[in-house]
C-alpha cells in the first residue's frame, strides 16, 4: 500500500510531468488560456492515461518487445477517439475551444512516455497509481497556469459563460498574458518559483545538518 501511495506522490511532486520531466508542454501552453477548457483537457488526459496504463500493464506479458510502440499507440488512439467523440457530443462549446488538442492527446508525450516507462514494466495496481499521480500532476499545473493567465490577463475568471471572480475595474488587464507569449512567460516564472522553493528547501536541509 505504501508503495502505491509513493508512486502516486511521485507523479504529483517529484516527477511532475510538466514541471520536472518537461513533457506534454504543447497542449499545456496552448490550452491554458481558460480555466474551464484546461480542466476539461486535464480530465481527458487523466482518462486516457488511466485507461491506456490499465490495458497496457494488463497485457504487458503478451506484447512482443519489437512492436510495442505501435501497439501502445493504437491503444492510446482508441481511447483518444472515445474522448474526441464524447466531448464533441456532450460539451460542444468546450470542444470548439480545444479543437485540435483533443486528437493531439495521442502524441502527448506524457501518455506514451508513461506507457513505455512505467505501465510496460509494472503490475496493474501500481500502473493505476502512476496514471492517477501523473494525470493529477498534469491537471494541477495546467489549471494553475490557466488560473494566473486568465485572472491576470483578462481580469476575471469565467465558468460556463458566467464570470466567477473579477478583479476591480481599475486593473488594466495586460492581454499579452492570454496571447501566445504569455504562455511561455507565465510558465517560465512558475517554474522559477518552483526552483526557488527547492533551493530554499535544500539550504534549510544543509543548515539543519
Amino acid at each position: 500500500m505504501s508503495e502505491w501511495v509513493a508512486t502516486l506522490r511521485n507523479g504529483l511532486m517529484l516527477e511532475n510531468p510538466l514541471m520536472r520531466l518537461m513533457i506534454g508542454l504543447c497542449a499545456t501552453l496552448a490550452v491554458s488560456t481558460q480555466v474551464e477548457s484546461s480542466l476539461f483537457l486535464g480530465l481527458a488526459v487523466i482518462f486516457v492515461l488511466f485507461a491506456s496504463n490499465l490495458i497496457i500493464s494488463s497485457f504487458r506479458n503478451v506484447i512482443p518487445d519489437q512492436v510495442r510502440i505501435p501497439i501502445f499507440i493504437v491503444v492510446i488512439a482508441s481511447f483518444v477517439t472515445v474522448v474526441d467523440l464524447t466531448m464533441k457530443a456532450y460539451v460542444p462549446a468546450v470542444y470548439a475551444v480545444l479543437g485540435i488538442w483533443i486528437p493531439l492527446i495521442v502524441v502527448n508525450c506524457v501518455i506514451l512516455g508513461r506507457a513505455e516507462a512505467f505501465a510496460y514494466r509494472n503490475r496493474v495496481g501500481l500502473s493505476i497509481a502512476d496514471a492517477l499521480g501523473m494525470g493529477l500532476g498534469f491537471l494541477i499545473v495546467i489549471v494553475g497556469l490557466a488560473f494566473f493567465r486568465e485572472l491576470l490577463g483578462t481580469g476575471s475568471l469565467v465558468w460556463m459563460g458566467e464570470p466567477v471572480v473579477s478583479l476591480p475595474e481599475s486593473y488594466p488587464a495586460p492581454a499579452i498574458l492570454v496571447l501566445f507569449p504569455g504562455g511561455f512567460l507565465v510558465f517560465g516564472f512558475l517554474m522559477a518559483g518552483f526552483n526557488a522553493l527547492d533551493l530554499r528547501r535544500e539550504k534549510r536541509k544543509e543548515a539543519g545538518r
Partner: protein
C-alpha cells in the same frame, strides 16, 4: 489572385504568420529538448521537414482514397493517421540505413522520435481538414496545396528552432538569477521571441 501568388501566400502564412512553434505551440518538445545545441537543431529541422512532407503526402492519399470513400474518416482518422505516420517513419529509417547511410547517421535518433512529434500529426490532420485550425479555408486542400502548406510549416519550424537554439547558446554564458537558470529563462526567452512573431499576425489577411 493568380495561382503563384496564392501558393506564395500559403507558404508565408504557414511559415511566419502562423508559425507552428511560436504562435501555435505545436511541437514544443523538440523545441526545448534539442535546442541546447545548434548542430542537433539543424539535424532535427531537416528530419522534421523530410518526415512531415512525406507524412502529409501519405496521409492525404490515405484520407482521400481510403477513409473518405469508406465513410469512416470522422472516427478513424486518429488511429489511421498515426499508424500511417509510424510505419512511414519506420520505412524511411530502414531505407536510409540501407541506401543513404550518411544521411541516416546525421539524422540519428531524431527519426524515430519524430513519430510522436505532434507537429507531424497536426500538419497531416490540418492538410486534410483545414477547418480544425484558425486559418479560414472553407474546403479541403488539394494535393499541391497540402504539400506547399507542409513545406511552409517545416520552414517555419526550422526558422524558429534555429534562432532559439542560437539564442540559448549565448544564454549559457549570461549571468542569470539562480532560480531562473536553465529551463525557466529558456521559456522567458521563447516568450520574447514569440512576441516578435505576434507582430506578424494579420499580415495579408492570413
Amino acid at each position: 489572385m493568380s495561382t503563384g501568388v496564392y501558393f506564395a501566400l500559403l507558404f508565408v502564412g504557414a511559415a511566419l504568420v502562423n508559425n507552428i512553434l511560436l504562435t501555435r505551440f505545436i511541437g514544443l518538445c523538440p523545441f526545448f529538448g534539442v535546442s541546447n545545441n545548434f548542430q542537433t537543431s539543424v539535424g532535427m529541422s531537416l528530419a522534421v521537414a523530410f518526415v512531415m512532407t512525406m507524412a502529409t503526402a501519405a496521409t492525404w492519399f490515405f484520407w482521400n482514397f481510403v477513409l473518405v470513400p469508406l465513410g469512416v474518416g470522422e472516427f478513424l482518422y486518429i488511429p489511421a493517421f498515426i499508424l500511417v505516420i509510424a510505419s512511414l517513419v519506420q520505412f524511411v529509417e530502414m531505407f536510409l540505413r540501407k541506401y543513404v547511410p550518411g544521411l541516416y547517421r546525421s539524422m540519428g535518433i531524431y527519426l524515430p522520435l519524430i513519430t510522436t512529434n505532434c507537429a507531424v500529426l497536426a500538419t497531416a490532420t490540418e492538410a486534410v481538414n483545414p477547418g480544425f485550425f484558425k486559418i479560414n479555408l472553407p474546403y479541403a486542400f488539394g494535393f499541391g496545396e497540402a504539400i506547399v502548406y507542409t513545406l511552409g510549416v517545416s520552414a517555419g519550424f526550422a526558422l524558429a528552432l534555429l534562432t532559439f537554439s542560437a539564442l540559448r547558446e549565448r544564454l549559457e554564458l549570461a549571468p542569470v538569477p539562480r532560480s531562473f537558470k536553465g529551463n525557466p529563462i529558456a521559456f522567458i526567452t521563447a516568450g520574447l521571441l514569440s512576441l516578435g512573431y505576434i507582430g506578424m499576425a494579420g499580415w495579408f489577411g492570413l
